[in-house]
């Protein structure tokens, strides 16, 4: 069992290392990258089944005691999020293998191996049991994302990359100072020990730590008012890279926040979180309405949806945390699919601007269908997965009598639907009023891109089919998070 935990981190790293060595042999490199991702994904599903049957498992790396060494912990929350995250990366890599041989794709020599490093960082961030390893995992993710964003060296990428790097580097520095702060206050950085020691601290110190890490994880998760880097930088990267970023990076921030703030019992920050969640939802949805480009509209939706997850967390009730986890699991694949479809649109139309494209529904009905399903899901319409997730969060809000945030959430949902309609009108209906040529793509590469998107759409539909099972699992994960005794005892063994 413990070897499965290490596989999710080591396999993509090894794939990346050998992938860099195989620069001269593109086919071997692509196969190797995909194989390493398949191994990691398979291991993550193994972890899910094992944790579901046998409960939380901890792996002390190098056999050190938990106070000194690195501990990797697979509890149900981690085991639920990990397979979703890794499957997304795998599907995107398949899409990318098709796309990167066209002019719009990323540099294949770098993109595949860097995606492997990013995958290792994602696994480490999800599984880690201490604050400093979380910092290292964030750096692993961010450094590879910096390079993925800017490696083509085009002017708009460098320009957007600067904002992205500076904002995230600042958050990382705050993270490091926060680690020092926590160590000074408690004498440990192990999450299980922190779950015991932080609630015993003075109220001021405790809330200071909570607020500090709210800012740190909030910058990574792009909550209001720390989101400005996101809509500038995401649309400039090649689609496959944006798809991974939008699907995963902000969600890792919110994942870390859910884990840290529930484990250490920061219930008193709930009201602040709810207020910020409400503003984030509305600002994101309004921002999306103002945009005129498919990728930019979708980038603003990322921000808006983060608000719902924050709302679930900010309620600090069992139902709220369940809703947040369910939303996280639903949102990652849906968002990724939408960006992949954005890539297909761009490939077909030669642009992602709403003004310059049109009439795609008549010419390419398959792309329209691929877009419609996740778009309706994101807007929260039944019977798609977004409805289940949104319903869970909102009903938790009603249970807690937080009427204001529930109203805001419903309004933001309507605004999301409106901006999805805008994409639909601009891209799929109307007439093709543009001279831009489709990006020339070989037939088998196009087939690869379409089948990857198709698999991902099917994946989002599977989530709504298994909504009941996922809801039960999320509920158990939430109750484990809110009662950290099992986590603590497993780590200390």
């Amino acid at each position: 069992m413990t070897f499965l935990i290490s596989t999710t981190i080591i396999a993509p790293l090894l794939g990346a290392a050998f992938g860099l060595l195989l620069r001269q042999n593109p086919r071997a490199r692509d196969v190797l990258t995909i194989l390493s991702l398949v191994a990691a994904t398979a291991a993550s599903f193994g972890i899910l089944f094992d944790v579901n049957d046998n409960g939380t498992t901890a792996l002390g790396v190098g056999g050190w005691s938990p106070e000194l060494g690195i501990v990797l912990v697979a509890d149900l929350f981690a085991a639920l999020v990990l397979p979703v995250a890794l499957s997304i990366i795998l599907v995107v890599e398949v899409f990318a293998t098709g796309q990167r041989r066209t002019a719009w794709g990323a540099n294949p020599e770098l993109a595949g191996p860097l995606l492997g490093v990013l995958t290792a960082g994602v696994s480490l961030a999800i599984l880690t049991g201490d604050l400093f390893t979380l910092f290292v995992a964030f750096e692993l993710i961010l450094v590879s994302s910096y390079v993925l964003l800017t490696h083509q060296g085009q002017r708009d990428q460098i320009q957007a990359g600067m904002t992205y790097v500076v904002m995230n580097l600042f958050a990382s520095t705050l993270f490091l100072l926060g680690v020092a702060y926590v160590y000074a206050a408690t004498g440990t950085i192990n999450l299980a020990l922190l779950a015991e020691r932080i609630p015993e601290l003075d109220r001021g110190v405790r809330l200071g730590i909570g607020a500090w890490f709210f800012v740190v994880f909030g910058t990574k998760a792009a909550v209001f008012p720390l989101f400005s880097w996101l809509p500038d930088s995401y649309p400039t990267a090649p689609t496959t890279i944006t798809a991974v970023f939008a699907g995963l990076l902000t969600k890792i921030g919110i994942y870390a926040m859910i884990r840290f703030h529930t484990l250490t019992g920061m219930d008193e920050l709930g009201t602040v979180m709810l207020i910020i969640a409400g503003i984030t939802m509305v600002i994101g949805a309004l921002g999306a309405l103002a945009q005129n480009d498919v990728k930019r509209i979708l980038s603003f939706h990322v921000i808006s949806q983060i608000g719902y997850m924050l709302m679930g967390l900010g309620l600090f009730s069992a139902a709220g945390t369940t809703g947040a986890i369910l939303f996280l699991i639903h949102h990652m694949p849906v968002k990724t699919v939408l960006f992949l479809v954005g890539g297909l649109i761009e490939n077909q139309e030669g642009t992602s601007s709403l003004d310059r494209s049109g009439g795609l529904a008549a010419r390419k009905p398959l792309i329209a269908a691929f877009f419609a399903i996740p778009a309706l899901s994101l807007a929260g319409l039944p019977p798609f997965s977004g409805f289940v997730a949104k319903f869970a969060v909102i009903s938790a809000g009603i249970d807690e009598n937080e009427t204001a945030i529930v109203v805001v959430a419903l309004v933001a949902g309507a605004l999301t639907l409106l901006s999805m309609t805008k994409i639909w009108l601009g891209v799929f209906w109307g007439r093709d009023n543009d001279t831009a040529e489709p990006v020339p793509t070989a037939q088998n590469n196009r087939r690869l891109m379409f089948s990857a998107t198709g698999i991902a759409v099917a994946g989002t539909l599977t989530i709504s089919v298994f909504a009941g099972t996922l809801f039960d699992l999320s509920e158990r994960a939430a109750s484990d998070l809110r009662d950290p005794q099992r986590y603590i005892s497993e780590v200390q063994q």
């Binding site: 000194l68 719009w104 910092f135 450094v143 520095t173 100072l177 500038d232 945009q291 480009d293």
Partner: protein, 142 residues
């Protein structure tokens, strides 16, 4: 916890924060270096009172300083070293592309901030070919 260390952390943070609010990336890089030093010193102070160098089997474990924050600090230094290099490369690239290393405003934000009239003017200019987009000559992916 010594007052001089605290003063050093405070000073480094102040100057670092001031520098990263600048527009020029080279100043921002200097700012991040200083902030990184402040964070590392923060980790050191978090380790408690100073003592002998913590070397296994050489010094009395009871008289040494706490080695754990030092290990963390070392990792953090290596990471910030790599990131500084990356930022320098980014600044260089920006200088090659634009002649300076300023962090620029987002063009799309400007477009959205325009009023309806201004948009009409732009649309007219577009139609007359005045604003025709310059062909992107920067190299695409190799």
């Amino acid at each position: 916890m010594s007052v001089s260390l605290l003063a050093a952390i405070g000073g480094l943070t102040t100057v670092g924060l001031y520098l990263i609010t600048a527009r020029s990336l080279s100043r921002i890089i200097l700012g991040f270096s200083l902030l990184g030093h402040a964070a590392v010193l923060g980790l050191l102070t978090a380790g408690g009172p100073p003592g002998d160098a913590p070397i296994a089997n050489q010094t009395n474990p009871l008289a040494t300083s706490n080695p754990l924050p030092q290990a963390l600090a070392l990792t953090a230094i290596v990471i910030s070293f790599g990131l500084t290099l990356y930022l320098l490369a980014l600044a260089r690239r920006q200088q090659v592309l634009t002649g300076n290393d300023l962090v620029e405003d987002d063009l799309e934000d400007h477009r959205i901030a325009l009023t309806e009239d201004e948009l009409d003017i732009h649309a007219d200019l577009d139609r007359s070919g005045w604003n025709a987009p310059v062909a992107d000559e920067s190299e695409s992916a190799s």
